[in-house]
């Protein structure tokens, strides 16, 4: 008879411990493995530096290429909506910051909740538009795998449940808060073993691309 | 007793917490709508102020805004009850206390006259009997009086 509260307590204790353990082990293992693999030594004479162009590329690739934008404006716009929305709701919401502070010992100032709320809506719309594109576009249909559906669902649910919890649209509140926490835990568990890893590896690969171009003396 | 503290210290505390209030304005709106209803259809409204989650100073601010009108009445039944017309005709503050001067109910009534001020039918019947007895006794006095009643 005490189910919703038992459920919330379970998601905030045992389930969270399991999820955090798998997430941290998985992410560090994979990053360490990728970095330790290294690259073959390039014997060709360097025509430029690696570090500067590498760092520059990490940022410059965040600006969409004009050609890509003209061909797929929707993909670019919804991609931005989703990523910025997710980033703001994940990192700038005060209850989330309190979680980081309790885990890592430091925090930062949050944004007023109406802004975070708007960001979450942006992220949800971005994700739905992405899904629609994936379903309607014949090329996307061909290249979509099970993993894509899984990753989309695992990303969508935490934002949706978070939105419902913040607006207290499900009664009782402990139930929806528990579902929110649980959905994030599912995301964390799947994270190291799916394309979600791009959250970290995107910066590695951008740096590498930039550094290679720099070494060859090509504009990055 | 907070109830009295609130009343006596209304202005300083309410000024300091001005940014905090969010229940006064919606309540005033509700009163205004209720008054409109009373004027147009004759339908009265009672708002239980104990069901409103007042913040510090909210109640004092509300009482202050409503002000004092022409009529004030005090009832003495199961403790004191004060009925005060606010500066808005038809809007009354009805404040019930028990015999220990603890507030037991606090309401805004939007009505031509609060029900409690009217003489109640049951009480009037009782009074009729009582009055009859008094008249009887006075009559007997006039007629030479019976020693038993003095």
């Amino acid at each position: 008879m005490n189910e919703p509260m038992d459920f919330l307590i379970w998601t905030r204790s045992t389930a969270f411990d399991v999820a955090v353990t798998i997430f941290v082990i998985g992410v560090i293992l994979r990053l360490f493995e990728i970095i330790s693999l290294g690259r073959k030594q390039n014997l060709a004479e360097a025509k430029g530096t690696e570090f500067g162009p590498g760092m520059r590329t990490i940022f410059s690739r965040s600006v969409p290429d004009l050609g890509t934008f003209r061909r797929q404006p929707l993909t670019v716009v919804t991609g931005y909506m989703f990523h910025i929305g997710l980033f703001i709701s994940l990192i700038m919401f005060v209850p989330h910051i309190e979680l980081f502070r309790a885990t890592f010992g430091f925090g930062w100032p949050g944004l007023p909740t109406p802004i975070v709320d708007a960001a979450a809506v942006l992220a949800l719309i971005g994700l739905l538009a992405g899904l629609w594109h994936r379903i309607m576009n014949p090329v996307m249909q061909k290249i979509t795998t099970f993993e894509d559906w899984l990753v989309w669902t695992l990303t969508f649910l935490p934002i949706l449940t978070g939105y419902l919890a913040y607006h207290r649209m499900v009664d009782p509140y402990p139930l929806i808060l528990g579902l929110h926490v649980l959905s994030v835990e599912a995301l964390m568990i799947a994270f190291p073993f799916t394309k979600l890893m791009h959250t970290f590896t995107v910066f590695l690969s951008r740096w590498y691309n930039g550094a290679m171009n720099g070494r060859r003396g090509v504009e990055s | 007793m907070s109830v009295f503290d609130n009343k006596s210290s209304e202005s300083p505390s309410s000024c300091g917490l001005a940014g905090m209030s969010h229940n006064t304005l919606p309540l005033l709106n509700e009163v205004s709508h209720a008054l409109k209803r009373l004027v147009r259809t004759g339908e009265s409204t009672i708002i239980d102020l104990r069901a409103i989650p007042f913040g510090p100073g909210d109640e004092a601010r509300l009482i202050n805004l409503l002000g004092k009108g022409e009529v004030q009445a005090t009832l003495d039944t199961l403790g004191k009850t004060t009925v005060t017309e606010t500066r808005f005709a038809g809007v009354w503050l009805v404040d019930h206390y028990n015999s220990e001067d603890e507030r037991i109910a606090f309401q805004i009534e939007i009505i031509d006259i609060p029900e409690l001020l009217r003489a109640q039918t049951e009480d009037m019947y009782e009074s009729l009997d009582l009055l009859g007895e008094v008249v009887e006794v006075e009559k007997q006095k006039l007629n030479g009086g019976s020693p038993a009643i003095q």
Partner: protein, 363 residues
């Protein structure tokens, strides 16, 4: 003992006028958190209401619930109701002791069979009956015996309603709530540690007035009192929405009355009437006095994380988990790297050199 007289008759006998009765009904409506439009219905019901017998059983409890209740009444509307309730057994408040006390309980049960209200505070130990007994009778046995002929059961306080403090991890006595044991009677849970006194009396007043139990939520708590969360009714809510939080109990934010979420307020998950009913004759309530809500009216609130940790903070200490997991990740990563190097090495070693002559030979 229960009387045959109705409340209306008894009030009139005490010389209470119709105005006084209406005032009493108004206060009762306010107490039960019912709208003032219900006053005529309440007046009609109270006119006919009979004096019920109440048996109050105290099990694994701290008497805080009884303290809360008795503090609520100097002669007030609650006490008028209590004058009208026959409290036939309450081992803290009754004059009788020992066998006379138990005899009073048995007599009340016998005379009001099927009609009395059973009020319970405290949880019931299932681990070993010896943890809590009254007159040599185990709590479990006494509850079952007394509940059998009750019209309804009111579980007062979080211990009786959900298990409460005695049930907190690791629950040494095997404490359970009333509803874990009694399945065949209507149970009203009046949770809180302690519950708000006017809520206890409001529930009893409802039963007295209408002879029925009020609308209940999924935890069997009366919706009129537990229908909304502390967070929803909190006058500090606008600060939560604006993102203005007190960081410590004495900073400028705390002095300005900002939201207490970061200081551990459990208001968002807690359903209770504190914001309207308030405490100490309506003086204040925890959030108004500058302390976050502990969530005391919710099941397992003792195990729901530190009182001064934000609700979003995980219950167990995660810094350690993260550190251990990071170390394990590094170790496993190193192992994986070693494996990869070995593979690479073997591949290099297996790599034979092919000359132009070899190619010509094979073709």
């Amino acid at each position: 003992m229960a009387e045959k007289n109705t409340l209306g008759e008894s009030l009139r006998r005490h010389g209470v006028s119709r105005r006084g009765f209406l005032k009493f009904c108004t206060a009762t409506a306010s107490l039960m958190a019912l709208p003032p439009t219900m006053v005529p219905a309440i007046a009609e019901a109270l006119e006919k209401a009979k004096r019920p017998s109440v048996i109050w059983l105290s099990f694994q409890e701290c008497t805080g619930c009884t303290e809360s209740l008795t503090r609520s009444h100097s002669p007030s509307v609650e006490s008028l109701i209590f004058d009208h309730i026959s409290l036939d057994y309450h081992h803290t408040l009754q004059a009788a002791a020992g066998e006379a006390a138990e005899a009073a309980r048995e007599a009340a049960m016998h005379e009001n069979k099927g009609k009395y209200i059973l009020v319970v505070d405290g949880s019931i130990p299932l681990g070993d009956p010896g943890y809590s007994t009254i007159a040599g009778i185990s709590n479990l046995e006494m509850l079952k015996e007394t509940a059998k002929d009750a019209a309804a059961i009111v579980a007062v306080g979080t211990c009786a309603a959900f298990g409460g403090l005695p049930q907190a991890n690791p629950n040494p006595t095997g404490a359970v709530s009333v509803s874990d044991i009694i399945k065949d009677k209507p149970i009203i849970n009046v949770s809180g540690c302690p519950p708000i006194p006017t809520v206890i009396t409001g529930v009893l007043a409802h039963f007295l007035t209408f002879g029925s139990i009020p609308d209940l939520d999924q935890y069997n708590r009366p919706k009129v009192f537990y229908g909304q969360s502390i967070h929803d009714r909190c006058y500090r809510r606008p600060f939560y929405d604006k993102g203005k939080f007190a960081e410590t109990f004495d900073d400028e934010g705390a002095k300005a009355g900002w939201c207490l979420y970061k200081l551990g307020c459990k208001g968002p998950m807690t359903y209770n009437a504190c914001a309207t009913a308030k405490w100490n004759q309506g003086t204040s309530w925890p959030v108004e006095s500058g302390h976050g809500c502990l969530g005391c009216s919710e099941p397992r609130f003792w195990d729901a994380g530190g009182f001064y940790n934000a609700l979003s903070v995980p219950i167990s200490d995660n810094s350690q988990t993260v550190a251990f997991a990071a170390a394990a990740g590094l170790a496993l990563g190193a192992a994986a790297a070693g494996l990869n190097y070995k593979n690479k090495d073997e591949a290099t070693k297996a790599h034979g050199t092919v000359t132009i002559d070899d190619l010509e030979k094979s073709s």
